[in-house]
Subunit: 192 residues, 4 copies
């Protein structure tokens, strides 16, 4: 075992540190509001070095997005609930997704905002969004087929669920009982 870190390893570490620091600064001042100069100063690194790791400020944004992407976990969140009762399953899915979103609220907020100006970024986010919607639709569909849910437009409903959770997660002090109340409203119906 080699205790000493190699040069390449330290470089990789540095890159990750830069990404993390960039995320922090982006969250504080936005992407446009964060200068490469400031990033370099905070990282105690020369400006030039940043361009050794990231070819441009835009590329840095993309790498930040990738580093904090939820894509890897979204599938397992839904799949873990298969077989359970729909109400319990949906509750678990929403809670877990919501927890993930809140945890990285700052970065998703800035990524969401930059969506307009950066088509590449938009495409990636849209991609993972669609993937999740598909999983959720499938889950709702199994609920329908199992007779637990009324037949309904799963596409619209999945999108609405995601919208509510995502937008709520952006609030600086997210309301606690949101998920239960909202899900109950949807599942139980409001009409007498």
């Amino acid at each position: 075992m080699n205790v000493q870190s190699t040069r390449a390893e330290r470089a990789e570490e540095r890159k990750v540190q830069l990404i993390q620091l960039a995320m922090t600064l982006f969250a504080e001042e936005g992407w446009a509001g964060t200068s490469m100069r400031k990033l370099a100063q905070r990282a105690r690194v020369s400006q030039g070095l940043i361009y050794h790791y990231f070819s441009s400020k835009e590329e840095l944004l993309l790498q930040v997005a990738d580093h904090y992407s939820l894509a890897p976990v979204l599938g397992s969140i839904v799949q873990a609930q298969e077989g359970k009762q729909v109400r319990q399953g949906l509750l678990a899915i929403c809670r877990e997704l919501y927890a993930h979103l809140c945890e990285r609220r700052d970065i998703y907020w800035i990524l969401f905002r930059e969506t307009n100006n950066h088509p590449d970024l938009c495409a990636r986010l849209e991609g993972t969004r669609c993937e999740f919607i598909e999983h959720l639709k499938a889950y709702l569909q199994t609920g329908i087929e199992a007779g637990e849910l009324k037949s309904h437009d799963t596409q619209v409903l999945a999108e609405c669920l995601l919208r509510v959770l995502f937008l709520a997660s952006l609030d600086s002090d997210p309301p606690e009982p949101l998920i239960e109340v909202f899900l109950d409203a949807i599942l139980g119906g409001l009409l007498r």
Copy 2:
């Protein structure tokens, strides 16, 4: 009657034109991406003149926000539905709100994005948001008292409704049947 427009009137006209133009440019390139020079050029006006009407670029943003504020109409949207059946009323409220949001999608999107960097702007938007939530809560409450709706947390539900509609309205290609499907889900419940 004075056919000639007074100085003050012409000044007011000019100001409104500048606000409208600014809205257009903001929508195209964002607030940060729109330079005062570009605004002046497009308005065929000197840079200095803009500062006679708006003390700063930030002030310009605020005035744009005020000019396109939904505050004046939000109250009436809800009040117009009082007395109707809850299902019809909610449907009308959502449709009208959604239509308003879509109409000015571009500007609301940039206002929403600038929320972070401009506390003043944030306060104003938050103000009209709260006001609308209050109206909606009251409407739901009357529905409960009239026996049309189950008792529920009206605050959370009102917020969820607004979130779904607002976020959906930001989509460049908004889904048509969204409102009906979503409302039916909420009103009728999904569980058999």
Copy 3:
């Protein structure tokens, strides 16, 4: 009469001063070697102001080229010699052209060098070059028709004349008797 210079006049003066200063600096260090910072400092002016007058560093180069263009005088140089004996005429043309070239040796040298990297500049210079060649060809042709000159390829000869004079003018210490010797060689022939 208004003794005081208006603001617009002073601005125009300033622009010309900047062009002249730019020419000097370009001559010293080349176009690439002259930074806008240095130009601003030498002109005791902010960097931003330069971009008020010239939209880019390249535009500055073009305006320098235009300001020192020989295009306006080239025609008259040739035309002034019409009617004279060919030997006297060519001598006068060459001397005058050569004098002009030497006078602005520095700027033509840098313009010539930048020819490759700036198609716009190249086109302009090529334009005035062609124009002069045409004048010279016409002059040689009249010499032929008057029976003073042997029939020959006036295009090639005009180009050769210009090449020799131009390249000689770039030498830092141009040889004095060049023109007479060279012209005599061409006119009189070297072969016994």
Copy 4:
């Protein structure tokens, strides 16, 4: 005989490859426009390695100049014509020189342009230029002494010849009959 190439041999090979590649890049983008990074990338070599072979970017330029210098051939071009008739000899000299110049047009053009900023480079080029002029002068002188040529200022004429050929060779689209026409004009004279 040693089939394996020694270290020194392989190093020398590498150096020559770098010089050739540098020439290509210089020709494409100029000396200033070619970064050491780009050179390293194209050579599939680290940036640091280049500094083992060339102490600086300027040194690299000088070595490129040396590698493509015409100095070794210029003498023989003239000497090969000794004894021939002057007209035939001059024609051959000019054609061969012109061919050499055209062949490496790109690199000579950039070397010529960099002349101003690099005194060392300037000195070397000036050296080979003078050397060639001396050879040419001597050739013309023998022509005079042989009675084939009128007595004339051989210095000026040699310089003019070189100027015309060099400047013509820089044209991207060099005129074909240039040499014959020009030489005939000089040799035969234009005046009736």
